[in-house]
């Protein structure tokens, strides 16, 4: 059955809550309102207010209480209404949740999911457009995923709910209603960890995730049509832990790597991917590792400025041409 990215997330929540009584949803306006983006629509009617909990605007508490419940065997799926607000809960995520198991010598686990609608391109300006994944991808104890398709959105969320560790799930707002996909009937999961090769090629590799997967695929099609370039596109899907084997395999195969993400250039996960390749596949490279990312700027409200800051298909096409000619 065809489902949007948003519907896929909603289905995963319904199915996981039906599967396991310990799963509950908590966040700001997730119940009666069905969430700011309607991602949690219908859950309250289906599962009642004990399991679909509207909270006040208290991000620290949402995450902290989620941790407390998780330690006692519950499986909270917590929503940050906008991924930007995750900074309010930063301490609970990186200090309490991420370290919990290690801190106690393995006595307890912290099986929670933190959903964070992120991403720009919706004119949300500075506090409703961020891609904060790189704040978390250097914290042992966390897992971080960023699905780009409805299938992955559903499958990764199910895996996250069933995982015994804290998982931050970045869902891209721009994808909610803009992409659709036929989803199989019945239960399926997408494992946390492995990247997915979206397009096979031989001349150049794009490594990307989340919102920029689709722009990367578009760019790959454009350059193939205009000059026959065969671009390979690797979708990371999971950002912590990174699929090092898949990253190195595509780098070794094509010898030219373009990293694309919507997060800012400096300190973005692309830097880490580039370092992995430089350390372990240097001999295979036929050109510099290039990156197309958001500029190191705040996400402006002004639509032309926002457009200027963000990666897009044209910028990716341009970078492919330059790198291919190197």
């Amino acid at each position: 059955m065809e489902a949007t990215y948003l519907k896929a997330i909603n289905q995963a929540l319904h199915e996981e809550m039906r599967r396991d009584d310990n799963v509950f949803v908590m966040g700001e306006d997730v119940g009666e309102l069905g969430g700011a983006f309607k991602v949690t629509e219908g859950l309250l009617e289906a599962f009642g207010e004990d399991r679909v909990i509207d909270t006040p605007i208290s991000e620290t508490l949402i995450v902290g209480a989620g941790i407390g419940a998780a330690v006692l065997g519950m499986r909270p799926v917590l929503e940050m209404q906008f991924g930007d607000f995750i900074s309010c809960a930063f301490d609970q995520i990186v200090n309490t949740a991420a370290t919990l198991r290690y801190r106690h010598g393995g006595q307890a686990s912290c099986p929670l999911v933190l959903r964070a609608p992120s991403g720009a391109g919706v004119h949300g300006a500075l506090f409703h457009s961020q891609n904060p994944e790189a704040w978390f991808t250097r914290v042992p104890g966390l897992k971080v995923v960023a699905p780009a398709t409805p299938y992955d959105a559903k499958g990764l969320l199910k895996s996250a709910v069933r995982d015994d560790n804290p998982v931050i799930y970045f869902e891209h707002k721009r994808l909610y209603r803009s992409i659709k996909e036929d989803l199989p009937e019945g239960d399926f999961t997408v494992p946390i960890g492995p990247a997915e090769l979206r397009l096979e090629g031989r001349d150049l590799s794009i490594i990307t995730y989340g919102g920029t997967l689709h722009q990367s695929l578009d760019a790959a099609r454009i350059v193939e049509k205009e000059g026959g370039l065969k671009v390979e596109v690797l979708d990371l899907r999971t950002l912590l832990p990174l699929d090092r084997e898949a990253i190195l395999a595509t780098a070794r195969k094509t010898g030219k790597v373009l990293i694309v993400h919507e997060d800012r250039l400096t300190g973005g996960i692309g830097g880490e991917v580039a370092a992995i390749i430089a350390e372990h596949a240097f001999d295979y490279l036929d050109g510099p590792i290039r990156r197309v990312c958001a500029l190191d700027a705040h996400t402006a409200f002004s639509p032309p400025l926002e457009e200027y800051i963000l990666p897009n298909t044209n910028k990716i096409v341009e970078a492919i041409r330059e790198l291919a000619a190197y």
Partner: protein, 337 residues
């Protein structure tokens, strides 16, 4: 709201508790005091390193409060948590070994002084970020409520946690949702070196309860029985579904904030006054007044506790350190352990 300070509560508690129970309160307080004194000694001898915050002087709060709970109730604490952890029933051996950084410690030496945790006695952790444990306590309470279990959560924090946002978010929701949480503020007057009146606009901390529509009371933390009585009442309320309470236990830490703090911001006179109000001496006096014959029993307890502490130090000292191969373990729950 109810839960006004009742000056006769402690005396009534003494009358309701048998001599054996009073002896147990005494034993737990002496255990913590001797433990902490020994930790200071081991610290100065270089056996314990890092940041270490001692509880000596505040024993009446942890012991009185935790004695009012059932074994299955939960406790959440702070970075000054050796006392709470011991009072909840963790073994002196495993706590001392953790402070020594040994693999036989509660957290296998990975956590140290500020991150004790003992699932078996439902001591749900010391939190080394001030105020960091409060949201977690709310979550424990939420889980108890959801599963319709009768347990309550006792959450300790210092006066230094009140200016934190987590305090507000936690008390607000605990009250809104009538969660079974007892918030116990150990007001020892100093957040490190900052006096409470310079940190909190309302320095009578129990008054915060009014804003959250929960009962609030100030008790003498140096009187273990007064703490016991207040927490007994709060635990009953929580267990019956009537929601959280805030208890401000006024107390005093005998040492500085940590082992590296000589506490020069306090006068010797102030310290002397508080030493005279010592919670262990208080209970001993009370028990002796009721029964002069109790002395022999108390001395036996003193002796037994000393043996427990000596044994804990020996155990910690002789235990091995964690091997380097331990580092990757326990980070994720799927790891082979």
């Amino acid at each position: 709201m109810a839960l006004e300070r009742d000056k006769h509560a402690a005396e009534r508690a003494r009358l309701t508790l048998g001599e054996g129970e009073l002896g147990e309160l005494y034993r737990r307080m002496v255990l913590i005091r001797r433990f902490e004194d020994k930790v200071a000694e081991m610290y100065s001898r270089g056996k314990i390193t890092g940041f270490c915050h001692l509880y000596a002087g505040e024993e009446g709060v942890a012991v009185g409060a935790i004695y009012a709970l059932y074994d299955k109730d939960y406790v959440v604490s702070t970075y000054r948590e050796h006392g709470h952890c011991l009072a909840k029933g963790a073994s002196a051996r495993s706590v001392m070994a953790e402070l020594f950084g040994k693999v036989t410690g509660l957290s296998r030496g990975h956590g140290g002084s500020m991150h004790l945790f003992d699932q078996t006695v439902r001591f749900m952790g010391g939190y080394a970020i001030v105020g960091g444990g409060l949201p977690l306590a709310v979550g424990l309470g939420l889980s108890c409520q959801y599963k319709e279990e009768p347990e309550v959560v006792c959450c300790f924090f210092g006066d230094g946690a009140l200016p934190q946002g987590a305090f507000h978010e936690s008390l607000n929701i605990a009250s809104l949702w009538k969660l079974p949480v007892i918030f116990i503020c150990e007001n020892n007057f100093y957040g490190m070196g900052t006096m409470v009146q310079n940190a909190v606009s309302q320095e009578e901390l129990y008054h915060f309860a009014e804003s959250y529509k929960m009962p609030g009371v100030r008790v003498d933390g140096q009187d273990v029985l007064e703490v016991y009585a207040a927490v007994t009442e709060a635990a009953t309320r929580a267990r019956e579904g009537d929601g959280p309470s805030l208890i401000e236990a006024v107390t005093y830490r005998y040492r500085g904030h940590s082992m590296s703090d000589p506490a020069e911001y306090r006068s010797k006179r102030e310290e002397r006054i508080w030493q005279e109000r010592d919670p262990i001496k208080n209970l001993r006096r009370r028990m002796m007044q009721a029964n002069p014959g109790a002395e022999a029993r108390l001395e036996t307890i003193d002796r037994e506790v000393s043996e427990v502490i000596d044994d804990a130090v020996r155990f910690a000292d002789e235990s091995p350190e964690p091997g380097l191969e331990e580092l990757g373990k326990y980070v994720y729950s799927s790891e082979q352990e």
